[in-house]
Point group: C2
Chain length 371, copies 2
Amino acid sequence: VSEHRGSASPGPDFSPIAWRDGGLALLDQTRLPAEEVWLDCRRPEDVAAAIQRLSVRGAPAIGVAAAYGLALALGSGGDREAAGVAAEADSSESVRRRFEAAADLLAATRPTAVNLRWAIEQGRRVFADHAAGGREAARRALLEWADRLHREDVAANRRLGAYGAELFADGDRVLTHCNAGALATAGYGTALGVIQASWGVGKVAMVWVDETRPLLQGARLTAWELSRLGIPHKLVTDSSAGALLSRGLVDRVVVGADRVAANGDTANKIGTYPLAVLARRHGVPFYVAAPLSTFDAATPSGAEIPIEERDALEVTDVAGSRLTPAETEALNLAFDVTPAELVTAFITDAGVLEPPYGESIARALGAAEPG
Amino acid sequence: VSEHRGSASPGPDFSPIAWRDGGLALLDQTRLPAEEVWLDCRRPEDVAAAIQRLSVRGAPAIGVAAAYGLALALGSGGDREAAGVAAEADSSESVRRRFEAAADLLAATRPTAVNLRWAIEQGRRVFADHAAGGREAARRALLEWADRLHREDVAANRRLGAYGAELFADGDRVLTHCNAGALATAGYGTALGVIQASWGVGKVAMVWVDETRPLLQGARLTAWELSRLGIPHKLVTDSSAGALLSRGLVDRVVVGADRVAANGDTANKIGTYPLAVLARRHGVPFYVAAPLSTFDAATPSGAEIPIEERDALEVTDVAGSRLTPAETEALNLAFDVTPAELVTAFITDAGVLEPPYGESIARALGAAEPG
């Protein structure tokens, strides 16, 4: 994968995912905030590797990146050699095999975020509808569809942000966990979209940023976005929320989601569930901001959400240094599940959903189904 | 401060604090587990600096280290030149001034741990009782008293560990936070003393070790002690406790304390309070293991415990690397307060204290008063 340096400015129009010159450019989030490097992905394998190592992360962002990855399976537009596509590879069987291999590869990268699975299922339908027209027609259809997903995700986040801002009040001090910003989506962000929209109408005084161990998405990514947006913020360790809430320094908690089950149970970055428990204890609203694409009608409850376990090295080694004895092992669960009863409301692109969530989620998803 | 390398083996008799060759040797905990370096402290200033930078930490350990620091104020035994003590400095007024300056310096190092304040108050009484005999007599009395504190702390922790083991059951999976081991005391440890005693009678299956950001005392120090004691353990990020408890993987939580107020409210490493809230939600016992020297009858409740705020750099920089944008600020509260109602029991050297804590703590402290 080739790379190029950039100087991104996350503002209203920033996206960490861009189709450029027949390839997929991804801002490598593992290197932020020290370096702004874009990866030029030309093959589905490049995209899968970027998802797996968290160069692109966040449920909506990996859904959109995977969509472009499916289009890349069929070549990168005209330049057959660059795409490694030989002429004889254009038989319909060979094209189908290439597409399916890419779909399987991308689907296997990360198990928890439902947007990934959902994007790949949609992509399979787009391919099935256009495969008969040949490789190039299917490629163009997939690319148009990926572009549409990209635009729709940004639009969904803007709607979601506006709905969220209605819930906020002047002077709110808001706590967030991990990164659910423009970087975690095709643009604008979910939890940070709500914060950005609320800030835009003068409703946010400051943001408490959980650093979010082990990979420090809060310290590295959320702090980077808030710095560039000019929104006042303060970094804290993940274990500080209890003290902040005890001292009355938090008015609202808002987080994103990797998958919301049909009953409202929510998988999100490890550490979200403790925040929800603490917010309830202190009578502080706890919101989950997520587009409907993150809700999964096929998963009845949190018990059925697969939780990714990542490499123990992410915990034992920090910034390249081993900080713990060589013989010490670690358990690195990437997500936890917050039971629906602890969620004050879901802030979605179809409005604010309130309990009972089984009903409000089913209604929102039903209304969103294409007629 | 001169240094020498060692190869410590925390076992039943290990202490991170040792009087050697007329000076105070402190195992530099900021460099564990990578290096085992002992600091040779010859002046109260050396001890104060070691406490401030957390080369020695843990409420009981800093109480004992400060006691030796007071003795060092009066010279380091015979060798006047090494101690920088001139003959004319032996006037009773000059000795008193030197002692008082050391007491003030040591007392100001860290505000939360009550053992420090308590040790310095006791040291003042020892000095007052022996100052009339001249510098050398007072120095010897202080040194004997510091040695006694050292021995008594180890003995208290052994008693406390035995009481704690009675509460544990076969196969327990125990979660602990920060380091309340031999390293945090004069030896044997409080929370880790309980774990060690329980393990010794076959009652602990394994230990979940919270890494304990920002300074990673769990990942660095608790993991080091457990490794050397041969006790099975697994490291997790501080935000993992909710997921572990949800999955039924934790049978007990046991932590140390920096100060227990008269009503049982407990200041301990930031992140302790969220653990107590989560343990309560999941019906898992939450124990605080602390010698009576950590209980403070003069502090009515947690609201009156001063909470140290440490340098933001401890949060923004990890292992020497800046991980967050240059303009991002951090709040670094070193401790939080767990309300007494969330504590299942206090495990002390005078037995297990149960609610109502106002009464059980007063009774235990009253019985411990010297007749």
